[in-house]
Symmetry: C2
Subunit: 197 residues, 2 copies
């Protein structure tokens, strides 16, 4: 029985909800918002900065990402984004030591890649299902949902590449990848729980 589950997910795929249901089913702690709050408390960064800066690059390419964040240095000489990444890494490593938890996002799959007690999950869905979901959840905006999703995907991909050197969504980096659009939320929960055992 794996005692740590990391869940990476495309925005709008329902990965967060699926992770929460898996945690409930297994009686594990669930870390998403809780992780943000804890890192905020320890680092002094605002929850808003952590929410956005802890998973998303701020511009469209790694070069632009580096340029955009270049001026933002904290007292120890690291960029604000790098310092946040280090804080998140430390906290995720501590969570893993405690075990029995589900951790959503934040490169936890990469940070815990050598931990044999982990099940690494990636959840994705087709554009239409994700667009429907974000409109239901966050409402309509000026930009089309497809455009919002494409931007989120791009920022997350750049952030992930920048800190891990890996390609986001490459199956070989996970133990289990699920298409929630085809399989449905409930089946995804069942499959993760089954794979965990």
């Amino acid at each position: 029985m794996k005692s740590i589950i990391t869940i990476s997910r495309e925005f709008g795929s329902g990965g967060r909800t699926i992770g929460k249901l898996v945690a409930e089913r297994l009686g594990y702690q669930f870390y998403d918002r809780e992780l943000v709050n804890k890192v905020a408390e320890r680092s002094g960064f605002s929850p808003e900065f952590i929410e956005e800066g802890g998973e998303y690059a701020s511009a469209k390419s790694s070069l632009l990402f580096a340029m955009a964040t270049a001026g933002q240095y904290s007292a120890d000489g690291l960029s604000m984004h790098d310092r946040l990444y280090i804080e998140q890494t430390r906290f995720i490593e501590e969570l893993a030591e405690q075990g029995k938890c589900v951790i959503v996002g934040r490169c936890a799959d990469y940070i815990l890649r050598d931990n044999k007690d982990c099940l690494h999950v990636f959840i994705h869905a087709d554009m239409a299902s994700r667009a429907k979901r974000i409109v239901e959840r966050y409402g309509e905006k000026d930009k089309s949902p497809e455009k919002r999703l494409a931007e989120k995907d791009q920022k997350r991909r750049v952030y992930y590449k920048n800190y891990t050197g890996r390609n986001w969504g490459q199956a070989q980096n996970y133990d289990l990848c699920l298409n929630s659009g085809v399989l449905g939320e409930e089946a995804c929960v069942e499959l993760i729980v089954a794979a965990c055992k």
Copy 2:
């Protein structure tokens, strides 16, 4: 209940065996060697050419692939590799019409990408598990198993990219991706059968 399962797999991941067990469990037809024989019968190509040329590029880059196959034209003006791809595509589309089958490899995931009655599966494993498996199955060779696997991976990646334009092993192209090295053969069979329902 999905009536067609496509299985793409890394060489040495046990994907073929897993596919066969899934087919037995569901009472579905299994197409791997059978597909090669049928395409041989219809096209006049030798089973050996189909086995190698129907999934693997013959050199290390798409350019070299194009160059290496450039001289090999069949009577209708298509390259031998392209003609084989077309024969395979036709046959796979016919199989899908009949339904209740498991099809291993041969870009079936791409060929049947718009078929709603399909479950598309990708099976992979870490290098060490795959190396162990191919030595048990095919014995030691002059080249190390790691080198043999790296070459097979590269050739399959180039072949797939050449005919589909996609990156091989990208999670978003499948409904279910499984790490057989971590999950084990039997669990993979169970998860595929469960996802199919």
